[in-house]
């Protein structure tokens, strides 16, 4: 590779503010021809905002973007695409009901001359699609429906479409999140070929291994600010993590530290799953949690951790296996059944699966309690207010009033309302799926302290987080998952490295 490749896209001094939040502050990004550039940062670092600025979803408040030396102002994703910036998203933005060939050429079909009947020249469409895919060494049948191929292949078809429009820059927004190792390898082969053709590629991912496997350079963002641009070969993993995290976070009081003395309360598991499985989501898995214990579930995205939580809570029906709650075999056909057995789940998707945005804080807090009680008796307004007030005070929920629609609260407070909803039902087992995602550091700390306090009070907790460091810090016992199955267990306080090692070894 040349010492310094030509700079294709350069963004300088990008600022973007949203009401109350400075999402991007003086951010720089240079993409060079024939290079794969990784964009790294924790959740909330500003990666997705930067991509939205580059693809014309958001306009920057200030700063400049230059494409091959000319200043550009993309106004929409389509405009950006016409300028030469193509994007492939995590969710494939193609039409599942059209064929592969059509998906590649939709909108710019070759036409037959009028003397041959006019209209779309399907033979040319298929021939061109085959040629394009062959060039990327993707061997699939172009006349089949897009939906007949797995997501990984769809992803590559999206790349084929993106690159066929004379793109100079290709942005890949977390394309590997839902892919397995083999699929990632196939995808990287395609990226490598594009790199050799001189494409400038921006690659956003959570996975460190992938960054080191494929990227040439890394730009790190933190809290909306530009931290630095590095050559991948010159940046150690430790240095990268340090750049992303930016100094140590105050360690939470770990449940294991404070619970050593109360080991005698340990009893039979409150919730036990024996070989539960669901086709395409989770392979047969055993799982148990005891009263007063925090069990962490660690694993990468797509490892089956959320799927396990959903099966435990009756959100999805298990194909096989049994769930035993407090020694009794339980048949969970719906969340309502699970709640009746004393289970509770804070789901991963707070907005879509957790809160009822237009309902008030009070109504959101009492909802699960009331749902368990049924239509009658209906909690009186006074009782509802008393319950809501108690939890607002206990969890420090900041809201103008109990009647404020919960959608108007900040992410951290929304998460606390969700927690309050479940605490109001006084569950035996509380499953928390990513309770700390997308909320500020202070709220995160408060929620983690609350978890420890709850366990100390005798509740069984299941804590799921993508931040393996958090899981290690909080859990008494860690269940490690990978590829939709449990690969082992580790004791609490074992260190992040042990978890990574276990994931890597299996």
């Amino acid at each position: 590779m040349a010492a310094e490749a030509e700079c294709v896209l350069s963004a300088r001094g990008i600022r973007r503010t949203f009401p109350g939040v400075r999402a991007l502050d003086n951010v720089e990004l240079q993409l060079r021809a024939g290079e794969i550039h990784a964009l790294m940062g924790q959740n909330g670092a500003g990666k997705s905002t930067l991509i939205k600025v580059l693809t014309g979803v958001h306009a920057p408040d200030s700063g400049s973007i230059e494409l091959e030396g000319r200043p550009i102002r993309p106004a929409s994703p389509l405009h950006a695409q016409q300028l030469g910036i193509s994007t492939v998203y995590q969710e494939v933005n193609l039409c599942p009901n059209l064929t592969v060939a059509e998906n590649i050429f939709a909108g710019r079909y070759p036409r037959r001359p009028w003397w041959r009947g006019g209209g779309i020249d399907w033979q040319a469409v298929e021939r061109e699609a085959r040629r394009l895919l062959t060039a990327l060494q993707i061997d699939i049948e172009v006349t089949r429906l897009l939906s007949s191929y797995p997501v990984a292949i769809q992803q590559m078809i999206a790349i084929a479409r993106a690159t066929s429009v004379a793109a100079r820059v290709l942005i890949l927004d977390e394309p590997t999140s839902s892919l397995d190792a083999d699929e990632v390898r196939q995808l990287f082969a395609v990226l490598d070929r594009l790199r050799r053709q001189g494409m400038a590629i921006l690659f956003v991912t959570h996975f460190l291994e992938q960054v080191y496997a494929i990227s040439d350079r890394i730009t790190v963002l933190r809290n909306g600010s530009f931290v630095g641009e590095y050559r991948t070969s010159e940046l150690s993993r430790e240095a990268l993590i340090a750049a992303m995290i930016g100094g140590a976070i105050a360690p939470a009081t770990s449940a294991s530290d404070t619970r050593d003395a109360s080991d005698e309360v340990r009893s039979a598991p409150v919730l036990q799953a024996q070989g539960i499985a669901r086709k395409g989501q989770l392979q047969a898995t055993d799982f148990a949690v005891e009263a007063g214990e925090v069990v962490g579930i660690a694993g990468l995205l797509g490892s089956g951790r959320t799927e396990l939580a959903r099966l435990l809570f009756g959100l999805d029906a298990a194909d096989s296996g049994a769930i035993v709650i407090a020694g009794q075999r339980a048949a969970l056909h719906s969340p309502a059944d699970a709640i009746a057995c004393g289970l509770a789940l804070c789901p991963e998707e707070r907005k879509t699966e957790g809160l009822i945005a237009d309902l008030s804080v009070r109504e959101n807090i009492v909802l699960a309690l009331q749902a368990r009680a049924g239509l009658v008796p209906y909690l009186s307004r006074e009782k509802q207010e008393a319950i809501a007030e108690r939890f607002v005070a206990a969890l420090g929920i900041k809201s103008a009033s109990l009647e404020t629609p919960v959608g108007q609260l900040s992410g951290g407070n929304q998460q606390k309302v969700l927690l309050a909803r479940w605490l109001a039902t006084e569950p035996r087992v509380l499953i928390l799926d990513e309770p700390t995602r997308g909320i500020d550091i202070a709220a995160k700390q408060e929620i983690m302290n609350e978890i420890v306090a709850l366990a100390r009070a005798g509740m069984a907790l299941v804590f799921i987080s993508a931040e393996i460091e958090e899981v290690v810090r909080l859990a008494d016992r860690i269940v490690v998952m990978r590829d939709r199955r449990k690969v082992g267990e580790l004791p609490g306080g074992c260190g992040e490295h042990a978890v990574y090692e276990m994931i890597a070894r299996h």
Binding site: N93, A106, G107, Y109, I140, E141
Partner: protein, 337 residues
């Protein structure tokens, strides 16, 4: 069809061996056509005189307007929308035609293009409301239906018969097909509309965008397809087809009446669904709609030939078919996801 074993999802695991492999895309269409053939065979075996060319040609002749309207409806449903105004627009077309030709003495050759333009304009307006203001197609076309029927009543509450020689001449004209068999002009128009619809759906950018919108409107937008204008044009096409259906109905009924084509929108939707088009959009074929119309027609013919069954069994039979096909669609969707 070549299959890449490593990348193709194994969706054929449950299929019985020995059966010819049908592309899943063509399953609903195959079911529809098989059903039609089965019904035709059953009728031929049960009733004397059923198995005659003219009986089958009459299916098309008697349902020409339904066929034309249903082709327009197919495009709307392919985008995931619905057009409830079609029956009312047919009635409005017959009303305007009758009023202008009979009471105002306008030449039929002027009236016909005029009513087609009115229908297209009506559809365009509905499409604009759906697209520009993100209104539900269901409610917009519902209001359109009220409007069109109301306008009919404003012209006249009575039926106006059409006696103009041009209309009666077209009504009586027959295209001989050898033997005693013949087709009416309306049926020929209907066949032409089906062929035109097939070409539009398969071979044009417009048609493919219709399918793309039905598959995923958001993706179609991101792929840079002209989603907005296509949506409007789809409703325009449906309005145009409805008006053409109305013109054909004036040939058939030789009158304009505000209660013509009452409930035609339901028949058209039923024909499209029975023809194998997915009500959520994205899957379906215009040729399927033709067979959907023929199945509705053959139910009526079977009931007429039977003689002991009353006419309301048609509605019940259509309802049952609708139920079965909707269930099949759900199974089809469930298997895809």
């Amino acid at each position: 069809m070549s299959v890449d074993a490593t990348s193709a999802r194994s969706g054929s695991g449950g299929r019985a061996r020995g059966w010819p492999r049908i592309d899943p895309r063509y399953v609903p269409l195959t079911v529809t056509i098989s059903l039609f053939v089965a019904m035709a065979a059953a009728g031929s075996m049960l009733y004397d005189g059923f198995f005659a060319p003219q009986v089958f040609l009459n299916l098309l002749i008697d349902n020409a307007f339904l066929c034309i309207v249903a082709v327009g409806m197919t495009f709307v449903i392919l985008t995931g929308g619905i057009d409830l105004s079609v029956g009312a627009v047919v009635a409005l077309t017959t009303m305007i035609s009758a009023q202008l030709v009979e009471h105002n003495g306008v030449s039929p050759w002027l009236v016909m293009p005029l009513v087609l333009a009115i229908g297209a304009l009506f559809g365009t307006a509905q499409g604009y409301l759906v697209q520009r203001f993100r209104l539900q197609p269901f409610i917009v076309t519902l209001a359109g239906m009220f409007l069109a029927r109301g306008l009919c009543y404003l012209i006249s509450t009575e039926s106006i018969s059409i006696t103009h020689p041009v209309y009666s001449a077209i009504a009586q004209a027959r295209v001989p097909l050898g033997g005693d068999a013949s087709l009416s002009v309306s049926a020929v128009i209907a066949l032409a509309v089906v062929l035109g619809g097939m070409w539009l759906a398969h071979a044009t950018q417009f048609g493919r965008t219709v399918y793309a919108i039905g598959g995923s409107e958001a993706s179609a937008q991101l792929m840079g397809l002209p989603v907005g204008s296509t949506l409007i044009r789809v409703y325009m096409l449906s309005g145009l087809c409805s008006a053409l259906g109305g013109v054909v109905m004036t040939f058939y009924m030789l009158s304009g009446y505000s209660l013509h084509a009452l409930g035609l929108e339901l028949d058209a939707i039923a024909a499209v669904v029975i023809g194998g088009t997915l009500l959520t959009g994205g899957f379906g074929y215009v040729i399927g709609t033709l067979f959907g119309v023929l199945i509705l027609g053959i139910i009526q013919t079977l009931i007429v030939f039977d003689g002991t069954l009353s006419s309301w069994w048609t509605r019940i039979a259509v309802g049952v078919l609708l139920f079965v096909f909707c269930l099949l669609q759900r199974l089809f969707e469930a298997r895809r996801s």
